[in-house]
């Protein structure tokens, strides 16, 4: 890390996380650790068919089982719907993927609930199913919804307003291609639909109280949004209270939990008792959020100097059996592409398709990673033709002050952030890029049967200032403070970082400031620490609330110090005038019958973006096809480090949860003949172990941002995004041939090396 002089008392210093002692002693109470009296356990009966109509359900035997308190089918539940557009029923007469919910059971024990599932008889009328996007678009393909003719999910999301970004269209395409020195085209997919698999399984506890109140305990990265979603599903007629708590990982995936929540709500409504419903790992892998499938068929025009003159084509987006956030992700993804590719002439048209598999949503990224893992390799084809070093290309094309882009609501913004070229150069230097880069499709080194190759990828997002946050900060006479926010801890350490920010403003020791539990009953609005918005967006609201509270405190005590409020300072609970620091009074002077409350709100700001560049070196075994990731260097500029160890953790996170490893071995394997996921367990779903860790190096610069008081921006989400395309590039260079399919399994490497042929495959030699 780059050491810089630090003027702050807490910001930038390594301090123990506020929740550290609980975490290392096992004292943290995740959802399943909370005790509830009179609890029932919920289970879901799931469809074995990818597409079918339910002809008849006989639940009588299940209902008679002792301990079973409710069995619900599509005929028993209200017509609650969700999705974009809102037409997916919680339980429907039609099932649309293997794992779709058919019936819900509540019983006095998990075993009884499980046993009851076995006793439900369902007659299905099996329908033909479709699993590939372009197959689904063909005429005559099985239709998932009457409302989506041709299996096309309508573009645009209400949340983005009437001009929401549904494509990237601007400039003069013909002129752009005429100006190009080279034109390349191709089709590349990023379709291995990885599952981020947070270690804590998806789950919920719900308590319905007649006639119109429901309380829900969630494990979520954005509990406040759960309240909003559930209120909308219930038509605004039911009071929804959401308790958030520490959350054992999310990686975006828990945003799509409405179904989990409503299952338990329905069972509680039917029984009058609290119902806990926790997904098994198989359900987690087969029936919880997957990444979007992404396939880009595009034509790229480029000049010799790396100027992109035109991009045109189609972006196929596979949403699975329905969409919740896909249109929103497409809008953000289209924006993110422009952050990386400075081009005047675009015609990139997304098309969102539904297929008979489990649904996709946010997974370590929100559209941009999905688009760019396919788009960057297409750009590489043009770079190869003109013999351009990809690092030079990224430096030239990455957004710079004065550049503009259309962002998610369809508004054009002029970028006012920093120039990241310095971070890119520093990363390249640390990696030794100049020495290792030998040109396109050329290995860095060959040693016997082993070949090494290098690659680089880049990503950035203007989401650092997305959406709104609200916070109140309360100052008490005993010189303590409380932050009122619904933010839950999901691993980034941000709850702790907010305490640091507020302590820095109030100059209070860290142990004197705490943060409320997440409870929508009293927390103000909060979009949640999603994307990379935690540091700038939420942080700004925290800082503003603390400053506002401090201002109110000073206004009250200023007369006692015979000073103006603006001339006051506070340190460790004492207040004094800047020019007379010896005359101090304690916070208690505000009056023991008072709380000083400050309010902070953040308004969205899309004029800045973060940036992550990732360099990788791989070794390919040309005999076995195995690819070993040897080294990763991430480089970024965060303006100001808030917590050095927390930040390092975020950057190390580039490997897992559908990150770099989605280029090497991570994939959800969907059997396209049956619709079953073949690796819905933690043995067959591949994940990186300790013994396979690559060398990891993080280069972090601190160029002050025009963001908030501490000049910082967030960088969490983007760490996973540049890696997959970089790995594809590195392996292609090592092998000397393009590999354009994720993940790069040994079989694909051997195929690229010409060591196995289609004939071998037919003979079963692989």
């Amino acid at each position: 890390m780059t050491a810089m002089a630090n003027a702050y008392r807490f910001i930038g210093n390594a301090t123990p996380r506020k929740d550290a002692a609980d975490i290392v002693t096992g004292g943290t109470r995740y959802l399943n650790d909370i005790k509830f009296p009179n609890l029932l356990y919920g289970k879901v009966l799931r469809s074995p068919h990818p597409h079918a109509l339910i002809k008849r359900i006989d639940k009588s035997r299940a209902e008679r089982l002792p301990g079973v308190k409710a069995v619900l089918t599509w005929e028993d539940v209200p017509n609650w719907k969700w999705g974009t557009p809102r037409l997916t029923r919680i339980l429907d007469r039609k099932v649309r993927y293997v794992g779709d919910a058919v019936a819900l059971v509540a019983a006095t024990s998990e075993e009884m609930a499980q046993e009851a599932l076995r006793l439900i008889n369902v007659d299905y009328e099996i329908l033909p199913a479709v699993f590939d996007m372009e197959e689904a678009l063909k005429s005559g393909a099985p239709q998932l919804y009457d409302e989506f003719p041709g299996n096309v999910i309508p573009p645009g999301a209400p949340v983005l307003g009437p001009n929401g970004l549904t494509k990237i269209c601007m400039g003069d395409l013909d002129k752009g291609f005429q100006e190009a020195d080279v034109i390349t085209d191709g089709t590349i997919g990023y379709e291995n639909i990885p599952n981020p698999i947070p270690p804590e399984p998806p789950g919920v506890v719900a308590l319905w109280e007649e006639p119109d109140k429901v309380t829900v305990w969630v494990a979520s990265q954005f509990p406040y949004l759960a309240k909003i979603a559930l209120s909308q599903i219930l038509g605004g007629k039911v009071e929804v209270r959401v308790h958030g708590g520490p959350c054992g990982g999310s990686y975006g995936s828990r945003g799509m939990s409405w179904h989990v929540h409503t299952y338990a709500m329905l069972l509680s409504r039917a029984t009058g008792r609290p119902v806990k419903l926790i997904f098994t790992r198989e359900e987690h892998l087969a029936a919880f959020t997957l990444r979007l499938g992404s396939r880009v068929r595009a034509k790229v025009g480029m000049k010799r100097d790396g100027t992109i003159t035109a991009v045109s084509g189609q972006w196929f987006v596979d949403s699975g059996y329905y969409s919740y956030s896909t249109q929103f992700q497409v809008g953000v993804g289209c924006g993110e592409a422009q952050i990386m590719v400075r081009c005047r002439n675009w015609d990139l048209k997304p098309i969102i398709v539904c297929t008979n598999r489990n649904a996709s949503g946010a997974v370590r990224g929100f559209g941009g990673q999905e688009l760019k893992c396919a788009l960057i390799p297409l750009l590489c084809l043009a770079m190869e033709k003109v013999g351009l070093d990809p690092l030079e290309f990224f430096k030239k094309n990455y957004v710079k002050p004065g550049d503009g882009y259309f962002w998610r609501e369809g508004t054009w913004y002029i970028y006012r952030g920093i120039n990241y070229s310095k971070a890119m150069d520093k990363g390249a230097e640390r990696f030794g890029w100049k020495e290792k880069w030998k040109g396109w499709l050329r290995p860095t080194a060959i040693e016997g049967t082993k070949r090494r190759g290098v690659g680089v990828g880049i990503h950035g997002n203007a989401d650092i200032g997305e959406d709104s946050s609200e916070v109140s900060v309360h100052l008490y006479p005993d010189a303590t403070a409380l932050i009122n926010s619904s933010v839950t801890e999901h691993g980034t350490g941000q709850r702790s970082n907010y305490v640091k920010m507020v302590c820095e403003v109030l100059q209070l020791p860290l142990e004197r400031v705490s943060i409320t539990p997440s409870d929508s009953l009293f927390n103000p609005y909060e979009f949640g620490p999603v994307g990379s918005r935690g540091t700038y967006a939420i942080g700004s609201a925290m800082i503003a609330a603390a400053e506002d509270a401090r201002k109110k405190l000073f206004e009250i005590v200023a007369p006692m110090l015979r000073a103006e409020p603006k001339d006051l300072e506070t340190v460790d609970g004492m207040i004094f005038a800047r020019d007379n620091p010896t005359a101090k009074i304690p916070w208690k002077a505000m009056g023991v019958d008072r709380t000083c409350t400050g309010l902070g709100r953040f308004e969205p700001d899309y004029t800045m973006a973060n940036c992550m560049i990732t360099f990788v070196e791989v070794e390919v075994d040309t005999e076995t096809g195995k690819v070993t990731l040897l080294r990763v260097v991430n480089a970024t500029d965060v303006g100001q480090i808030i917590d050095p160890q927390g930040l390092e953790g975020q950057l190390n996170g580039c490997l897992g949860s559908g990150g770099i490893d989605s280029a090497l071995f991570e994939e959800t394997v969907l059997d396209h003949s049956t619709g079953h996921i073949l690796n819905a367990n933690m043995i067959d779903y591949k994940w990186r172990t300790y013994s396979e860790l690559p060398a990891m190096d993080n280069v972090i610069l601190e160029t002050p941002f025009p963001s908030h008081r501490f000049h910082a921006v967030g960088t969490g989400e983007v760490t996973t995004a540049p890696g997959p395309a970089a790995v594809l590039m590195a392996v292609s260079n090592a092998v000397g041939a393009w590999l354009h399919e994720y993940p790069i399994t040994p079989e694909k490497v051997l195929k690229a090396l010409g060591k196995i042929t289609q004939k071998d495959r037919k003979r079963g030699i692989e």
């Binding site: 002693t25 399943n32 270690p199 790992r281 390092e648 953790g649 933690m682």
Partner: protein
Amino acid sequence: MRKKGAETYRINLTVNGQVHELEVGSEPDQVKPYHMLAHTLRETLGLIGTKVSCDSGACGSCTVLMDGKAVLSCMTLTVECGGKQITTIEGLSNPRTGKIDPLQQAFIDYTAFQCGFCTPGMIMSAKALLHENPSPTEEEVKEGLSGNFCRCISHYQVVKAVLATSVKGK
């Protein structure tokens, strides 16, 4: 231990130094013959520090010590634990002073966790490793923890914390 002619019998389970006499049988408040140790620890004894993640022996999250060795409590039948010494994450603190184990302190110092869900299992695996090999090399630490799944990628900081706690690191 089995009572003659009765469907129920008792086992003695020693957890964190404390002996629990548990009845095995089919009644709601009894340990079932099919109950896993993780279930008994969490649901019967209220020791929620042991976290269950995959529940099928693949992720290491539920690791506890049995007679000093790491075992997966989600794959270990409670009825097979009679007479064994079980240590959970709650048992690492000094019972008299309440002071946490140096390994736990190192996890705090290195922020060797992110979401923290896998952390108790990591710490227990590392504890077993250090018990067996008080001064492991970096490679040995990685090998010793290779059965522990972490999705946030706390691995690098965990390795630092474990090495700092080893005899060599002190």
